[in-house]
């Protein structure tokens, strides 16, 4: 009798678990890092992403009547942990992978075609993934690192001209930090500027005095930073200490968050950063998250989260996924879609001004349309500046140097495909 009860209990538990995993939910896994040296930024990213999808469940009952199941997998921003997370979702029908790390992206990129699950790396990852014909399963909407670097260089050009300028590039020594270096290599002779590289190892992120002594020796006209985590505030503090003019110091969009400059406050006034999303809580989408999630205590963030750079950006990331799910449901006529359906959604969504307004994102981000050929989208970035207490937008959207960026992306994509024998490509009409 006892054996029968135990067997029945095990069978029912297994059935419940299996049903819970495979049917009735739209499984959206997200790799997060709430621990480790990059936790400060990773936590903001995780909260914005999870809270937006939770809001859709609370407000709309999910997408197309199906609940979204958001599952976090902690990586600590380590590639090997990311691969473990990826593997743990095999067979569970994940709709899309969000690695939140270029290092992890590079590790799992080749697995996506095999598992038929797309990877969305919003504004990070492998730049060449922008070429949809070579990378059918990878997307980096709304812009790539190559494009961003060209936008930053265009901004510098608009301020002082690029000719005869000396640019210092300080970056986290990683796949992420090294990603835009080919752009500098290619454009330096073309525009007549000079550059030097300052790699910062992860373990030296809080100890950059040598790097900034080198800056003092080299006397660059501009500094550009590809930093992350604690590297960002440390670099800004070191720049202040070495009397480097902060209005000549431009971070990329992962080096210009509230979490980076907030603790520095007034002393960081003048520092600039690229971004592709506005800050603030005035947007209806943010208000809905506050109303349906934050005020009900269904979040891990405090009230200070919504409205900040990284939180809003992560919301936008989740919104893009939600829109792709809806598009896939509409196209396939199925409510419970697969990774393959999701890929179709990611290539066909339309987030124009009208749709952005409907979703509550109008004014926060630029319109973007999914495409088979172009997995990057608009590619524009604008520059914001820290005023001592908050980020202030100081330019309109700066389009990348499309001709140059596209040529480099095409070359990089072809190179990747030739280095990976049997690489799956697609033809777009």
């Amino acid at each position: 009798m006892k054996k029968t009860i135990i067997s029945a209990f095990v069978a029912i538990s297994t059935l419940i678990t299996t049903v819970g995993m495979s049917f009735g939910d739209l499984l959206v896994p997200v790799m997060t890092y709430r621990v480790g040296p990059f936790a400060a930024n990773g936590t903001q990213n995780a909260n914005g992403f999870v809270d937006y999808l939770t809001m859709l469940n609370e407000r709309d009952g999910g997408i197309g009547g199906v609940k979204i199941k958001v599952e976090e997998c902690e990586t600590g921003y380590k590639a090997e942990k990311g691969v473990e997370c990826y593997e743990s979702y095999r067979g569970k029908n994940p709709l899309v992978h969000t690695p939140n790390s270029t290092g992890i992206t590079l590790q799992i990129l080749a697995k996506a075609p095999e598992d038929k699950t797309p990877i969305l790396t919003m504004g990070y990852g492998l730049s060449a993934a922008a070429k949809g014909e070579t990378f059918p399963w990878a997307f980096n909407y709304p812009t790539s690192y190559f494009s961003q670097m060209t936008s930053i260089l265009k901004y510098i050009d608009s301020q002082t001209g690029l000719k005869d300028q000396k640019i210092g590039f300080i970056f986290l020594e990683s796949g992420y930090g090294r990603e835009p270096i080919p752009v500098l290599e290619q454009l330096a002779p073309k525009f007549g500027f000079e550059y030097f590289l300052l790699p910062v190892a992860g373990k030296d992120a809080q100890n950059q005095s040598s790097h900034w002594l080198t800056v003092r020796k080299e006397k660059p006209d501009w500094m550009i930073m590809w930093g992350w985590g604690v590297m960002n505030p440390t670099a800004v503090k070191a720049a202040i200490k070495s009397r480097y003019p902060l209005d000549r110091f431009v971070g990329n969009w992962w080096s210009a968050g509230d979490v980076d400059l907030g603790p520095i406050g007034e002393a960081g006034k003048g520092y600039k950063g690229a971004t592709f999303n506005a800050t603030g809580t005035d947007f209806p989408a943010v208000q809905d998250v506050i109303k349906h999630v934050v005020s009900k205590g269904l979040t891990k963030t405090g009230s200070e989260g919504p409205g900040t750079v990284l939180y809003n950006r992560a919301m936008w990331n989740a919104a893009l996924i939600a829109e792709a799910i809806k598009t896939a449901q509409d196209i396939t006529g199925k409510k419970e879609i697969t990774g393959e359906d999701m890929r179709i959604g990611l290539e066909n969504f339309v987030l124009d001004e009208a749709r952005l307004k409907e979703l509550g994102f109008a004014g926060m981000v630029a319109p973007i349309v999914g495409s088979c050929k172009d997995h990057e989208g608009a590619g524009a970035a604008f520059i914001q500046q820290w005023d001592g207490s908050k980020w202030v937008k100081i330019t309109d959207a700066i389009d990348p140097m499309k001709d140059i960026a596209q040529e480099m992306l095409t070359k990089a994509a072809a190179q990747y495909a030739s280095n990976n024998a049997g690489w799956t490509t697609q033809t777009c009409n």
Binding site: R34, V35, G36, P37, F38, A39, A40, G42, T43, E173, F196, L197, L198, P199, V200, A201, G202, K203, D204, A205, Q206, N207, S209, S210, H211, L213, T214, R216, K217, G229, V230, P233, T234, K237, K241, S242, R243, V259, P263, G265
Partner: protein, 318 residues
Amino acid sequence: MDLLIGIFITPFAEMIGLPDLFFQALWDGFVSGTLYGLIALGFVLIFKASGVFNFAQPILVVLAALALISFYKMGVPAWISVVLVLIMFYALAWLIERLILRKLVNTDGNILFMSTVALSFIIIGAAQWIFGGRPSSMIHKELGIPTGSFEWPMFGGGVYFDLLDISAAVVAVILIVCLGLFFSRTKIGRGLRAVADDHQAALSVGISLNQIWVIVWFVAGVVALVTGIFWGARSDVSFALQIIGFKALPVLIIGGFTSVPGAIVGGLMIGIGEKIFEIYWGPLLGSGVEGWFAYFIALGFLLFKPQGLFGDKIIERV
């Protein structure tokens, strides 16, 4: 030929051409060196008392800094917060002794080491649960530590001195001297060495192992607090601070795992050496030299002087 010029001529020409930069590098290296020495000191204390590399020391730095800020945010005055953190560390030292060390007396060094690894992860988990992952600003201004900077003009340029750096160097040197005297001139200090040599022998001559361990872990906590305040003020206070803690490893190899003066000398060698090497020879090697320079020097010591500059030479009779 270019390589030889890059190694033997250009760096020295740059030192002479920009002497203010050279002095700035020396000063920055000195400050970093004293702070490395401070971190290393925390390891030395535990190593002297138990013969084990305390893997948990870096997370103690984070714990101290986060606890200090949290008490202050709760409305406790800054210096009272310091006292509360010290009380907390005494309680922690007592708990560690009661729950872990007492059970592991006379066990293999590897077991003790693994217990500090476990302790480290327990503290990380607990601290993240209590304090969250958001970085905070250190309350050094509220503690009365001066901020701001001044420039000392020289050779047509200038050397910048941060008052925070000066304070850090002064406090680190005072702390190191005091601890050096305490452990070399007092009964507790001598007891400490006896405990490190042999637990059972120390117990047999009446040394209270438990008391020594509580004192040493508490003092390591004090060192962690001072380290956390100054390193936290230089960047910010987050769990990333623990990474800097492991910078002490090459310092310990150079200075010797059991030597208080060794910690400061090793720290200064690494601090000044890595700055000078990065600035003048780094470009030849693609920059980023600072990341491995300390370990390169440490490897040299392991090969030719494994006990370090001031470490105890281990003689084992057959």
